[in-house]
Symmetry: C2
Subunit: 393 residues, 2 copies
């Protein structure tokens, strides 16, 4: 529904200034004349906005001048160290950090061990606070330049209120985690579901660059998905869209911990494979299944092949529902046992509904282990960087 918002001079000014800054960021270095050409603004308007951005310490003239024909023009660039954000990923056994500058480059990575289920949310927030303080010192950044923190959390997240509603990985229920972190460091904090952060990352910097409708499937100890449409994360009514794990694959199938029959996660995730393998052999670890499959043991090959078939079916179901142009396969199961991707492609020939064949591509995650840290930094930049949120679109 159209929002009832009057538009006036201030709104236009903010919009156009943000647009100039975005173009400088994406096409740097760039001259004032090129900016005028791209934006169709007058030289005067461009000049005024550029001056303001220079005064605000976000943009500077570089030593470079444009090549090519005609008069040489001074080139403009953003000031990469004008502003920083910190991207954080909370996993079961460790926390990862990345310091991202204004050019959206992660200038420093950091990770610490951590036992999620044995720590209270307050202890985890305190740990994150200490580590980020250390990271800021290590990078020799003046603290006021760090404008925001973004955190990717496995679970159901109330993104707007900053609450972890439910996370079985962390053992948390209704934890106002954004505020906990904010209070420790005095830095604005945004949290989101880890797969939603991951797809943002792949869309901005990884395998989904240039895609307009992307789905990401994450398979590890659990299975989930995320969707991004024209640059916007698809959230559904309460930020829970994409909860693949408890869709029904077989109404008469395996009993799931949720009490229903035939949930997808009972067929595809790492726990499902281990449960299945144990019908035959006392294994402790998913790696043993793939080792046995590589050694041509029939039971293991059957498990791996069936998993690939079910991932193919999952892709078909996703494509029927979302009609994306790109499907990204990600998560530990995919990234550690890459042979499964070829098998998935083979099965897809049979399980994708004919009219959708050729309408999308299946690719592997490009940023892999760093995707969430990078995406979380970018999420914080989108929220808290100067001019951010100025746009009313």
């Amino acid at each position: 529904m159209k929002k009832i918002v009057k538009q006036d001079q201030d709104v236009i000014k903010q919009h156009n200034k943000q647009m100039i800054l975005d173009i400088i960021k994406k096409q740097r270095p760039i001259s004032r004349a090129e900016l005028a050409k791209i934006t169709k603004m007058s030289a005067t308007s461009v000049g005024r906005f550029v001056s303001e951005l220079c005064e605000e310490g976000l943009v500077q003239e570089t030593d470079l001048t444009s090549s090519g024909v005609g008069r040489k023009a001074v080139q403009l660039d953003i000031i990469a160290d004008a502003v920083y954000t910190v991207g954080v990923e909370i996993e079961k056994k460790r926390i990862k950090f990345g310091m991202m500058d204004f050019s959206e480059t992660v200038v420093e990575h950091h990770r610490v061990a951590h036992t999620a289920l044995e720590s209270s949310p307050e202890e985890t927030a305190a740990l994150i606070g200490r580590e980020i303080s250390g990271l800021i010192k290590k990078c020799k950044i003046s603290p006021e330049k760090v404008v925001g923190i973004g955190i990717g959390v496995p679970g159901v997240i109330d993104y707007e209120k900053g609450i972890v509603q439910f996370s079985s990985t962390l053992g948390w229920k209704n934890v106002p985690f954004a505020v906990l972190v904010e209070q420790i460091l005095g830095i604005k904090t945004v949290i989101d579901n880890d797969l939603k952060v991951k797809i943002l990352s792949e869309y901005l910097y990884g395998s989904a660059k240039g895609s307009t409708k992307t789905t990401l499937i994450g398979i590890g100890t659990g299975i989930g998905s995320a969707l991004i449409i024209d640059g916007e994360i698809f959230r559904g009514g309460s930020n829970s869209a994409g909860e693949l794990g408890h869709t029904t694959l077989d109404p008469n199938g395996n009993l799931c911990e949720c009490g229903k029959r035939g949930c997808l996660q009972t067929y595809v995730d790492e726990n499902a494979l281990i449960t299945e393998a144990r019908r035959v052999k006392e294994i402790t670890d998913i790696g043993q299944v793939f080792e046995a499959a590589r050694a041509d043991e029939r039971w293991a090959k059957e498990i791996v092949s069936r998993t690939a078939l079910y991932i193919g079916i999952t892709i078909n179901n996703i494509v029927c529902m979302y009609n994306p142009d790109t499907v990204i396969l990600s998560g530990d199961l995919i990234e550690n046992y890459t042979e499964i991707v070829d098998l998935v492609h083979e099965h897809c020939e049979q399980v994708i509904w004919e009219p959708f064949k050729g309408t999308f591509r299946i690719i592997a995650s490009e940023l892999k282990a760093e995707a969430i840290v990078i995406g979380a930094g970018a999420l914080a930049l989108q929220h808290f960087a100067p001019l951010a949120g100025a746009d009313f679109a």
Copy 2:
């Protein structure tokens, strides 16, 4: 991704004028003072836009004045017969028409028999042309007031290009149907998938009013779905999002006409019920199954109950994927045999994943048989009414 579009005075003016017109439409009658209050515009600006809208013949002062305290104010209303659109629904055996005025009221309904599979697209377009000409005459509308035609078509539709890519109901493949109709009448025409038109209708005027994330499930001779988010139809990459019928319900299940196993449509749609019933009894019609179920015949009760269970599972899968606040059940199967809705509710208790319980409501379609005609008229109005498309949001 942010669009690179400069904003200037003209853009603001169009946006604000459109906003004034929309508010008059929704809250009519309304005074200039109320408009200023809602939009936060100055009295001068409101006055100027209202004058323009009056000059353009879209808005007029009414005889009414506001009640309540204070000085009486002249009320404004849109002119309902300023502009018309025609909504059309093409079904297998008939075509329905509705003449919609600028107040979004269908002032005249009309339907003709038609045998889709025996007619060429050109013959169908010619029939639609003749019937609309007749309808315009019958309603005594001057033809230039009819600014657009909207058509809901069962199948995969390239909405932007106006092409029916594939419709098994009509037996068409890659038919540029919008142009065919446009050429006959000289009236701009937009076509879309029937369920997408139907959900627009329910969102604007029916059971989903006020919902922000709505899914519609349509079950008849086939099963499909549509999604609307914040007033926008969710289209996916090629307008094919929501193709439920060929998602897999059981990897080892029934063979589908598409060559895959276990497609949802082989369990839930009317053909599936007939096929299942014929294992026991030579029936010719879905009504016989429900008759037998009402007469307490065990085989029929089993089929109806299983269908309700599978519809429940479908709702769970939809809710996990889309996370809507409202699920609308529609289509012949639901509308002709309403007893199934209670059964679906009963099964949902078991098959909805716990975290989603209470996050959405399940309701029946309100506009039923007229939904597509009304939605198609509204779609044409959104596309072709004066000021439409002026907004850049």
